[in-house]
Subunit: 200 residues, 2 copies
Amino acid sequence: MTKPPTRIQTRNRAAILSAGLDVFSQFGFRGATLDQIADAAGLSKPNLLYYFPSKESIHTALLERLLDTWLDPLKALDGTGDPVQEIIAYAQRKLTLSRDYPRESRLWANEILQGAPRIEDTLRTDLKTLVDEKAAIIKAWANDGKIADVDPHHLIFSIWAFTQHYADFDVQVRAVLGEKAPYDGASVFLDTLYAKLLQP
Amino acid sequence: MTKPPTRIQTRNRAAILSAGLDVFSQFGFRGATLDQIADAAGLSKPNLLYYFPSKESIHTALLERLLDTWLDPLKALDGTGDPVQEIIAYAQRKLTLSRDYPRESRLWANEILQGAPRIEDTLRTDLKTLVDEKAAIIKAWANDGKIADVDPHHLIFSIWAFTQHYADFDVQVRAVLGEKAPYDGASVFLDTLYAKLLQP
DNA sequence: GTCTATAAGTCGATAGAC
DNA sequence: GTCTATCGACTTATAGAC
């Protein structure tokens, strides 16, 4: 029988994961240190290693938790809905995710940039399957003349690229925009971009 | 008087910069080690430090060299040319850059992801100035009715995001596409995307 | 707190090019 | 023979883990 976690365990595990997200998303796996994470979590390093047996295990826990969050917006793309609206709504969901979970976006970006050593298999299986499935839906819409005929894979890449840019390149976006807030303008632009692109 | 570099110096400095690009672009500044770089350059660590006084100095040299390469395509955007063609040509130049210099793109991405500690000032000055200047040109085109009226800053962001995605997220792109080559499809998609968006 | 590995950077000595 | 280039061994600090 596994014992239910105590309140202290629940709190500390959550603190470690949040601290790990802070540090891993900024420095990548190799650049992050347990000292930084322990510090950010308000725990001693030995205490941190009482909850997670290794640096790797914290990172893995974060990536696993992230995967669902990250794929959910695409899973929700509905083949029976209005084509243009469905795609734009997906892109807007993704932009909201970037705004509300920028650390998660950067964790993902770091992992991919470094060659995705820990999730390459998942990319080739789960992610590819999901994307191919949704790409088929988009292709069918194009064939029915409901949207313009564009390559569905590159359409999806463009949505990922554009929306995640605002989280991953946040510093650069803000440096260029100055005082102007990024996300309102991005949302309007995104609407226009895909409405015009997809118009049959 | 500074002496001209010997052939050995030229060769070794080039080897170190190339090796540094390999390692920094994959692991980020903190994740990279001098041993890795020395190994990749075919030199001993002391010998490497004979040419560059520190890890930091290699990284700085790479970023400085990169900056021009990175901004040149935007500088070439010509206010007297045909508006739609100019913008699409800029995007295509940027895509070519991603294809031919993926390590440079990832070095940049790593630096920004980590909060751009070494280039934040450059972003706020040189980059912002350049972008604002080109954004003004694009805005003027829109006011003259030569292109559709879209936010020029977000237009530029979208070009950066989409084109750099193929270098920075290379592993993910290839995992999803399988055997299909990325860049041909990306180039076609990009043409369609901006032609439709900018059509007045 | 301790242990062990690995990191960045130094030093002194020497091999090799011109 | 002198200056350039190289390297093994070392120091100090910091890393992950117990």
